[in-house]
């Protein structure tokens, strides 16, 4: 739209809404000096306009009615920070229909209902900015769309859920069990009361959906992503991983193999000398390999009022600078020639933890089944010896097919020497 003044209305005065308002009020003059664009915070809508957010909002800005923003003809950009599916979706569609650009941090909505929203934006010739929806303050959307525009993206590995990373980091440092660390995380406000989306990989998959569409020109494919969370990870697995030279992280993975794309979210063993494995606590990072640029990584805070607000404001300035720029063009890029791989067809390395009765010949039996399924072993750890009792047997494999792994485990778990369900974790990086 390329106007010197951009009038903004924020719907949702929660964490990110407060951060966004604070940045506009505190850094507005700096932003104007840098870009020539003056952001006017015209209205903020929230059901609760009484609670003190620690932001000195000018009088008359607050309203309880989102439609005072959506229907205000002077407002150029509507910032949707309500979260959830409804009424957020209706707010966004109505704002677009009123000829407004939209900026949002709502990954769940875009990942699952994005087609409707981007279609309306196309129809109206307006932008939907969603820098804040993936990896918070890290400008990864801009990087993928513009900075690496010249690259075929070969692969993406993202630590993009701060809650899971915090839990795994503390489990790794302290050897503490999942449940205990989750409780602590909830007490500290790092995990929500219902943490399902964070710990089951749903939130990570929402973000991967957006990154993958952007990078590969494919439709939003949330349903096609393989999703596995961190709830089954044990301190024991973390300790064995460490012994083998790995750390366990919840990763979003997109990887091109020939003209097929693997899209998966699962706990992953990463070589502990890799840079991304050192991204700990609530921090996020996205490791991207492009055919021209080679390996790159982008690191920072994936959540929080000010980091996420930083991304929201950069979207506002982008829209003010170029109007309908490249903010949603990826959806109209047309067919890309990529298909999404069935998750059973992926190939990677695997870590197994078998729980076996300590009898002679157990390893030979298990390795026999693995071999029959074309799975070859690269390392074994079998330490404790308690004749006749259940002990862990840890096996690391060379590259193998997921389908073979699943079938082998099915077969192995019926063996009389197996005392508990076999656990496996995918391994990336070496080989």
């Amino acid at each position: 739209m390329s106007k010197a003044v951009v009038n903004v209305g924020i719907i949702g005065f929660g964490t990110v809404g407060s951060g966004t308002a604070r940045i506009i009020l505190q850094n507005g003059a700096l932003i104007e000096k840098r870009t020539g664009k003056k952001i006017i915070l015209k209205r903020i809508a929230d059901l609760d306009i009484v609670r003190d957010r620690g932001v000195a909002v000018p009088p008359g800005v607050l309203t309880t009615d989102a439609y005072e923003i959506i229907n205000d003809p002077s407002i150029d950009v509507v910032v949707e920070l309500v979260g959830g599916i409804q009424p957020a979706k209706k707010f966004m569609l109505d704002a677009l229909k009123q000829g407004k650009h939209v900026v949002t941090a709502n990954k769940a909505l875009l990942a699952t209902k994005g087609h409707e929203i981007f279609k309306e934006a196309e129809a109206q010739g307006k932008s939907v900015g969603f820098e804040a929806a993936v990896a918070g303050g890290i400008p990864i959307i801009k990087v993928m769309r513009e900075g690496l525009v010249a690259n075929n993206i070969l692969s993406i590995y993202g630590i993009i859920n701060g809650t899971s990373n915090y839990i795994l980091t503390r489990m790794t440092r302290e050897g503490a069990p999942f449940e205990k660390v989750l409780e602590d995380a909830q007490d500290l406000g790092y995990a929500e009361n219902d943490p399902t989306w964070d710990i089951e990989g749903i939130d990570t998959a929402h973000k991967l959906t957006l990154l993958a569409s952007l990078s590969y020109g494919i439709p939003l494919s949330f349903d096609r992503i393989y999703k596995e969370g961190i709830t089954a990870i044990t301190p024991e697995d973390i300790a064995y991983a460490s012994e083998l030279g790995y750390k366990i992280k919840l990763l979003a993975i997109a990887k091109v193999v020939n003209s097929e794309i693997e899209l998966r979210v699962h706990p992953t063993m990463l070589p502990e000398d890799s840079l991304i494995s050192k991204v700990d606590d609530v921090l996020n990072a996205v490791y991207v390999i492009g055919d021209a640029v080679g390996e790159t990584m982008y690191y920072g805070r994936g959540a929080g009022d000010m980091p996420t607000g930083s991304a929201v404001v950069s979207d506002i300035i982008d829209i003010a600078s170029r109007g309908k720029g490249r903010c949603c063009s990826f959806l109209s890029a047309g067919p890309c020639g990529y298909t999404i791989k069935d998750s059973l067809d992926i190939e990677t390395m695997y870590y197994f933890r078998f729980t076996v009765l300590d009898r002679p010949g157990v390893l030979s039996k298990i390795s026999g089944v693995l071999g029959a399924h074309n799975i070859s072993i690269s390392a074994v750890i079998q330490k404790e010896r308690r004749e006749g009792e259940a002990v862990p047997l840890v096996v690391l494999t060379h590259r193998a097919k997921e389908r073979d792994i699943v079938n082998a485990v099915k077969e192995i778990d019926t063996l009389p020497v197996i005392a508990a369900k076999t656990r496996f974790i995918r391994v990336e990086g070496k080989e």
Copy 2:
């Protein structure tokens, strides 16, 4: 300019020129699908148009005359990849005068003569893209200018010279002396025949000049940057650093303290558990702290045909998408209110390696001088005992003023117990 077709001429068919040409030819269709912009590689000028660069350039594209590009009315963007000051500067100014946008990787030219070039660009209403001039394939210019536009930049710590990082990494891994690793680096093509600019911090300072102007709205200030290279770093210093929990990296530092900016390039001891200290070999990284976003880091290859070409092509697409966008606006941002700090006024922590005659009372004498200069000690290593012989005495300080450090060293180096010139290295990160 917002045209669907952008005609490009490249001046300089060396490493980066070849990479840029290869990317345009190989990934042009992908880029067009993503952005709607078709890049036409119209001409490439080089004195040598015979040597095979492994790029299948269409017939008629090559010329030995740069002015066949500069004066070609059909060409929209001139990519200057000649390097050096002249004739690169004349090419760029003439191209701007001919109404063309310019893209360049020439940090030395921009850092030292940039005002003339950006002034001409302003006068012509054209852009000068220089993403490729800093940290190669890492889109750090875009990140600083656009991604973090909402932030006061509190500090920047950059490993932005691959040659120095390679040398320090190998010295650290192998305990090898500087001279030997430099020779290896030259044999491997990681260091030039005349490596002065890389190892003396000049190249790093060129890049810091651009980052600082961009981030703080200050004039290009190459001459005001404190510059110290890595030639005096010894394996002994690296070993002591490691014993104290630090790694030594050549850093570009910009840091705001009140309304003053520190701008400095020097070998720096960094906590070995910090993410940036793990950036090894020829890789680059820029660690940026913004007041809203908090800590962020950007990592990748700082040189090479394809990574740098990736940055050049992203600049071309940016120009094609928005014409005179924000590509050189930072120079017209006006007075910023920042002044550059005298390097003697900086405050940080310091590592000293004194070479002392091993006599009783040495430590007390040296710590006495330090104390008299308001320098307090946080750690001491004194191991070898060879009565009457010269031995190292290593001291780590708390925060101190550079001026006090310099004065203290001057005084200490006159003491009869000092057997060789005292070495010191600045320390960042802890405390």
